[in-house]
């Protein structure tokens, strides 16, 4: 076997393996703690257990989109337009969209148990749904054809426009509901009394999901870099071929 095969994980390093191991351990605790050790809630009953995965995934999704915006702005402002920022923005948005999907699914399962309905036109839920669709659009823009720089510029601008859009959507949805529906707004975590163990589990969830997030983004970003390099190599070969063709004619 040649040297190329020696590294078992192409995008992995010792650091990511440690990170991954830590993530698995923490997640194990979150699952066991969330499903077994923690007590049920006085008001919500067993359904409070969904909180331990729902709340962290929402939190991480928002973190992901903030990081996408920061990386996009860095790409635009930076004189060198470093493609690393672009790859990070893309990787973070992809992972963020996944966490947002998890948030929506677990949230509606929890809602079915608590409210008796999968969906409520609550401002927070509605904004979250819009955020999800907006970043699906962002990912679609990343897939548009064009040069690498063009793709980076377009998607960076779309990411920053999303930052303009989200507060406007949220604000309008908030007053849309408050003017007409009065106080039917349900606060998803408002009436929960968390004891120490429950708080600790929720906190571990946030930590564990953050570890998972960074592990995924690191690997995704490196995969993108590998693909860029492969493409660049492909271009080099193509240039050499075409030059040879052009000189012999």
């Amino acid at each position: 076997m040649s040297q190329l095969v020696t590294s078992t994980s192409a995008t992995g390093t010792r650091a990511t393996r440690v990170l991954g191991l830590l993530a698995i351990l923490v997640m194990l605790w979150v699952v066991i703690g969330g499903l077994v050790f923690t007590p049920q809630d006085v008001v919500q009953g067993e359904s409070v257990r969904i909180m331990y995965v729902h709340v962290p995934s929402a939190w991480i999704a928002y973190l992901a989109f903030i990081l996408t915006a920061v990386a996009s702005a860095s790409w635009l402002i930076g004189k060198k337009h470093s493609m690393g920022f672009d790859r990070f923005a893309g990787a973070s948005a992809e992972v963020g969209v996944m966490f947002m999907a998890i948030t929506l699914v677990t949230g509606s399962l929890w809602g079915r148990l608590t409210w008796g309905e999968f969906w409520q036109w609550d401002p927070r839920l509605t904004t979250t749904a819009f955020l999800f669709v907006t970043y699906l659009g962002y990912l679609a823009v990343r897939r548009l054809e064009g040069s690498a720089e063009q793709r980076a510029r377009r998607s960076a601008i779309i990411a920053l426009l999303a930052v303009l859009e989200i507060p406007l959507v949220h604000f309008s949805v908030v007053i849309w509901r408050s003017l007409h529906q009065g106080a039917t707004v349900l606060n998803p975590s408002g009436d929960v009394k968390l004891d120490d163990l429950m708080l600790f589990t929720l906190f571990s969830g946030v930590v564990g999901f953050t570890l998972v997030f960074f592990w995924l983004v690191l690997h995704r970003q490196r995969t993108m870099l590998l693909l860029d390099v492969v493409n660049r190599r492909g271009l080099d070969t193509a240039i050499a071929n075409r030059r040879a063709e052009g000189s012999t004619n």
């Binding site: 659009g137 377009r154 303009l164 949805v173 007053i175």
Partner: protein, 230 residues
């Protein structure tokens, strides 16, 4: 060669776009009938005079959004057909001027569209309009069509010539214009006094429309050039 200035580019593009519409009459002969048809279909689907009266505002703005998608596509199909957009890019002219020219042309078309839709709603859905309601309604139409014109031109330019633009444009545009749909609907309901709404309630929503138009007017003029650039 003199460096072209903004105002000249703006007026040239605005006049050009309106003239093309005047010649081809796509809005007149295709979009307006489509929008009117949608209003009639709503009546079939809901089949209840009281409900129609109550939701008339929402239906008008829903029909506006869907029709605006067609108008926006058309506005950039004209540029892409003979690759005039390439000529505009090469010309090195100020693209913010192009942006405002196309946006205002789009706004004017949307105003015509909304005028027809609102009149249709008043006739078909039997809504009433008071004097103060009319003032509110006109302001609301101006605010929301300006906002839609800005956002539509921005995302229309991005998707012009792209693969799958027919589906990409709605995916990008509809979430962004949700505030316009909400605010314009509420303001129109206030103007129509649907469900006992007060005219005064509508003005707060018009404020939101103005903020939206201002934000995307500024953001769009900065973003449009880099977005359509190759």
């Amino acid at each position: 060669m003199s460096r072209p200035n903004n105002g000249r580019v703006f007026s040239a593009v605005l006049i050009k776009d309106l003239r093309i519409e005047f010649r081809s009459r796509v809005l007149m002969n295709q979009v307006l009938p489509f929008a009117g048809l949608v209003m009639i279909m709503f009546a079939f689907a809901l089949d209840n005079d009281d409900v129609l009266q109550r939701v008339a505002g929402g239906l008008v703005w829903l029909a506006t959004l869907f029709s605006s998608l067609i108008i926006i596509q058309r506005s950039f199909a004209v540029e892409a057909a003979d690759q005039a957009l390439d000529s505009l890019r090469v010309a090195g002219i100020d693209l913010a001027g192009v942006y405002f020219g196309k946006a205002i042309a789009l706004t004017i078309k949307l105003i015509v569209l909304d005028f027809v839709l609102l009149v249709t709603a008043m006739l078909l859905y039997r809504v009433d309009l008071t004097g103060s309601g009319l003032v509110l309604l006109v302001t609301c139409v101006l605010g929301s069509t300006t906002g839609l014109g800005f956002v539509g031109t921005l995302y229309g330019g991005l998707t012009a010539g792209a693969k799958g633009r027919e589906t990409l444009l709605p995916l990008l545009l509809l979430p962004v214009v949700a505030p316009v749909l909400i605010a314009a609907t509420r303001a129109t309901e206030a103007a129509f006094a649907s469900g006992g709404a007060q005219t005064s309630e509508g003005w707060a929503w018009v404020g939101l429309l103005a903020v939206f138009a201002a934000v995307f007017g500024v953001g769009g003029s900065l973003a449009f050039g880099p977005l359509i650039d190759e």
